[in-house]
């Protein structure tokens, strides 16, 4: 069967090429993402402060254990956003462990705690006892090259970023590849119905047809892996260079060719191709041998009720997923929006046959009015071919939906953050760094001073926890330096046993003023804090505001000053806001790059699907021409069809993008009116139109260049 598959492939390279391109790019992207994850997981940064120790006892994670309904327990570990601590009482116990020759400590500002215990020990040291002691304090032991992991440094932060970015975008790319490849393979089977029916008629069993299709997909994925891996290597190198020069990773973190990433990308892509072909082959098995005869009546199979029901359920799910997806911030919001988008597109893919035929009925009078007979034919074609065009519609909707939502979401986040900061800062000046607050407060003209520390807290989500950005402030007079947009409670009531939370966190956790939820401070210390106020400007000021006395003492990151006269050492807050905008643009670069890659991939898939669909029409167009349709009329018919399809895709894609964007932006900023740059609209509308027109009109022009009689005799 493999040999036969190969022969058939060589004879009909069009659809195979489309699948090959999609799979190769999939391998390339996954290889690059996998290399990031691999580097993030496996690189051991060189220990700095802990270099002198043989073994380090430190706490870097918080563990959540949860009982499932069926009695099984699940454990999830979350890295602490700040250095954790271990009890000072542990030091003596560690010193008593056999084989330990000396013990030193890294002090912590939290009383009774130390940041790390540095152990000097010979090779005969009792590691098991040390491990047990560490575990009793929720800590771990780190030895040899693992010591660097115990430290909190630029390197460890970068490693976390690599894992997070690589895994989440890699995951979404896998979904995208599944969509695209399933569509293309389905299309290639659909276009070869006659060949497959003939094979069935002369004696190929359904199983043999299936095996042939699987062998074919296997061959294509093999070639895709062979081409994609070297390309992925180049892409990884380029990405590393960019990440390095933009300061996302320090030079000490290597991102290199990863055999694991290569293996994972190769396996995943092959698996995706196999899955897609197994689904498509099920449909191919239903091809009846009589179809090869082409003359007798053939029952048209109707899209099933199951498909319709699943489609409607998915659509409902997409709407309700929106609010949930938005319950998180920043990067997570973008991946959440992606999830919602996928649900919408899945629903469209499932419902596409009905959408197409409905649209054809609706548009028939309009098409006939504008394009006469050609328009009438176009509407008839769209209706008759509603299933065949499902892949094209889905791919177009995917591109428009992607382009119109996730890309703009980034812009919206940036804008909203800058606006909230500008509106919320009542202070006119700021010192970017620690300062003696009392000294500043006593200067002439100063009415209020607030010290601010940037920190993170962990908030429970399901059976795990998620780091949330927070600020620790000096509450006295804070209402004169910052306007958080408090909607409930009072910021003035902020005390060491309370906190203020953003509306986003309050609503997603169902917290009200006066509640006492448990959260974890950045170093892993649990804290039950009363909600003193709920505010709206969470993007600018973080989702949680703490009294700085709640945390262990540490220097301020910035000092906000409300004063009539210039204070030496302070800068106007405008400088702070513009710096913020620059910083955000830099950090947005990575998101924008990855989103651009996904939009590009979806657009390429749409182009592939449309070219394939156009080229598959040689017989149909030849029949029309022999029946007396002029070349001009055929051209106009194809244009009219394409315009209708494009209109439907733009309308649906636009609605999906608008709903996704509005839901997520509303949750994040409170505004129901997402910001969309005018050029962005133009780029999406223009891009989709250009794509739809060139990928159909050029192939059709080529088909029309062949004499009709010759085209009729040729294969479909």
């Amino acid at each position: 069967m493999t040999k036969l598959a190969l022969r058939l492939l060589r004879h009909r390279p069009g659809s195979a090429t489309a699948t090959l391109i999609a799979l190769t790019l999939g391998v390339l992207i996954l290889m690059a993402m996998g290399s990031l994850v691999d580097a993030g997981l496996r690189h051991q940064p060189a220990p700095q402060r802990y270099a002198a120790a043989d073994i380090v006892v430190a706490r870097t994670e918080i563990t959540f254990t949860d009982k499932e309904f069926d009695g099984e327990t699940t454990t999830s570990r979350v890295r602490l956003p700040e250095p954790g601590t271990v009890p000072a009482a542990l030091v003596n116990q560690v010193r008593a462990v056999p084989g330990v020759t000396a013990v030193a400590t890294i002090p912590s500002t939290r009383p009774g705690q130390v940041e790390a215990i540095l152990v000097k020990a010979g090779p005969e040291v009792d590691r098991a006892t040390l491990d047990r002691l560490a575990a009793s304090a929720s800590a771990r032991t780190f030895a040899a090259s693992a010591r660097g992991r115990a430290e909190s440094s630029a390197a460890t932060t970068a490693l976390d970023l690599l894992v997070q970015v690589g895994a989440s975008f890699g995951g979404y790319v896998v979904l995208l590849v599944i969509f695209v490849v399933a569509g293309l393979i389905g299309l290639s089977v659909r276009h070869r119905r006659r060949d497959l029916a003939l094979l069935r008629a002369i004696g190929a069993t359904p199983g043999q047809v299936r095996r042939m299709l699987v062998a074919e997909a296997g061959l294509i994925s093999g070639v895709a892996v062979a081409l994609g891996l070297p390309a992925g290597l180049l892409a990884t190198g380029w990405l590393h260079g960019e990440l390095l020069s933009r300061g996302f990773v320090p030079a000490s973190v290597p991102i290199g060719p990863s055999p694991f990433a290569a293996l994972a990308a190769a396996l995943l892509i092959t698996l995706v191709a196999m899955l897609a072909v197994v689904v498509a082959a099920r449909r191919a098995t239903a091809i009846r041998p009589t179809e090869a005869l082409g003359e007798a009546a053939v029952e048209q199979s109707k899209p099933g009720m199951v498909r319709a029901v699943v489609g409607v359920v998915t659509l409902t799910g997409a709407f309700s997923a929106g609010g949930f997806a938005a319950g998180t911030g920043g990067m997570t919001a973008i991946t959440g929006a992606l999830g919602m988008l996928y649900l919408f597109v899945t629903a469209v893919a499932l419902l596409a046959p009905w959408i197409n035929s409905g649209a054809a009925r609706l548009l028939a009078p309009i098409l006939t009015m504008f394009a006469g007979t050609s328009g009438y034919l176009a509407a008839a074609n769209l209706r008759a071919n509603s299933r065949g065009m499902a892949t094209v519609l889905t791919a177009l909707v995917l591109s428009v939906g992607f382009g119109g939502s996730v890309w703009f979401l980034q812009d919206n986040l940036q804008r909203a953050t800058v606006t909230q900061t500008r509106d919320g800062l009542l202070a006119q000046q700021a010192i970017a760094g620690p300062a003696d607050l009392d000294e500043v407060r006593n200067r002439p003209g100063v009415t209020a001073v607030t010290g601010v520390r940037h920190t993170s807290v962990l908030i429970k989500i399901f059976d795990s926890a998620e780091p949330v950005s927070a600020r620790a402030i000096t509450p006295a007079g804070a209402t004169d330096t910052m306007d958080l947009g408090v909607v409930q409670g009072d910021l003035a009531a902020l005390a060491p046993d309370s906190m203020a939370v953003s509306e986003l966190q309050a609503s997603s956790n169902n917290w009200k003023v006066g509640d006492r939820p448990e959260i974890w401070l950045g170093d892993g210390t649990p804290a039950r804090l009363r909600v003193a106020a709920i505010y709206t400007r969470g993007l600018a000021f973080g989702d949680v505001i703490l009294d700085q006395r709640t945390l262990a003492p540490a220097p301020f990151d910035e000092v906000l000053i409300r004063a009539d006269a210039p204070i030496p050492g302070a800068v106007p807050v405008d400088a702070l806001t513009s710096q913020l905008a620059t910083d955000m643009a830099t950090s947005a670069w990575l998101n924008k790059l990855l989103v651009a890659v996904m939009i590009g991939y979806a657009a390429l898939a749409a182009a592939n699907a449309m070219i394939l669909a156009a080229l598959a029409r040689s017989r149909e167009l030849a029949t029309l021409r022999l029946a007396g349709t002029t070349r001009r009329q055929v051209g106009r018919m194809v244009n009219a069809e394409q315009a209708a399809l494009l209109g439907v895709a733009l309308a649906i894609g636009g609605v999906i993008a608008a709903v996704t964007l509005t839901v997520v932006v509303h949750a994040l900023t409170g505004s129901f009116l997402p910001y969309v740059p005018p050029l962005g609209w133009a780029a999406i509308l223009g891009g989709a139109t250009l794509l739809a027109m060139t990928t159909t009109i050029l192939p059709v022009r080529r088909l029309l260049g062949v004499p009709a009689v010759k085209a009729l005799g040729s294969r479909e």
């Binding site: 022969r7 002369i202 009589t290 082409g294 009546a297």
Partner: protein, 230 residues
């Protein structure tokens, strides 16, 4: 008793659903086709003759009624078993689009054997190729052949597995009259030379004159029962 027939059908009914209507293509057909005979199934278009051929050949399943190929009854066979039976015991020659464009003439002829995983019988294949007159064309692809030559390849393929019966649906429908005569003469000769059973659907009385007997259909029923052509 059934073994004297290569193919036999009993109370064959086939209906199609077309929208809300039910179209009856076969309305209860009984017929038996004796071994070594060349039968023409005739009738106007829409009379059910192609449907009769497809259901009798196991390409399509009847709504009710039974079909025997030799002494094997088809209605209880699974799709895979039915395919294997077609492969081993039935040959097909369609009106057009008979050949896989990607394969050479030789590969097309050997395809059913390959699908069956059987070792091709060289001497038999050489003889078949000789009879259909395709010797010098074995390495060509279908696109390089004329319509008549393509039908010859299809006949050679149908003969390759030494089937019980060859079904042919308008084999000359797309050919000019001289080429058509050549193809029909070829079909006639395989009946005479090998005792092959051939059942051919045609609406052309000229084509039917090559057969031993003819059967006329209209409106899904047998109009005139099997009678010698003459």
């Amino acid at each position: 008793m059934s073994t004297t027939y290569a193919v036999r059908v009993e109370q064959l009914v086939r209906t199609y659903r077309s929208g809300r209507e039910t179209v009856t293509a076969l309305a209860g057909v009984d017929a038996g086709f004796a071994r070594g005979t060349f039968t023409a199934v005739m009738g106007p278009s829409g009379s059910g003759k192609s449907t009769l051929l497809q259901t009798a050949a196991g390409l399509d399943r009847p709504t009710s009624g039974r079909v025997w190929i030799g002494d094997t009854e088809l209605s209880r066979l699974s799709e895979t078993k039915l395919t294997k039976l077609r492969r081993d015991r039935i040959g097909f020659v369609f009106q057009s689009y008979n050949l896989i464009a990607a394969l050479t003439v030789r590969e097309n002829i050997e395809l059913p054997l390959r699908l069956a995983g059987a070792r091709p019988d060289r001497r038999w294949l050489d003889e078949v190729v000789e009879r259909v007159g395709l010797g010098p064309r074995l390495r060509h692809r279908p696109a390089e052949l004329s319509g008549g030559q393509q039908q010859r390849v299809a006949i050679a393929r149908a003969l390759a597995a030494r089937p019980d019966v060859i079904f042919s649906d308008e084999p000359t429908g797309a050919l000019d009259s001289r080429t058509a005569a050549e193809v029909l003469t070829l079909l006639r000769s395989v009946v005479d030379a090998y005792g092959q059973t051939v059942i051919m659907v045609t609406h052309d009385a000229g084509a039917a004159s090559y057969a031993d007997q003819a059967l006329h259909m209209s409106d899904g029923r047998i109009d005139r029962a099997l009678a010698p052509v003459g």
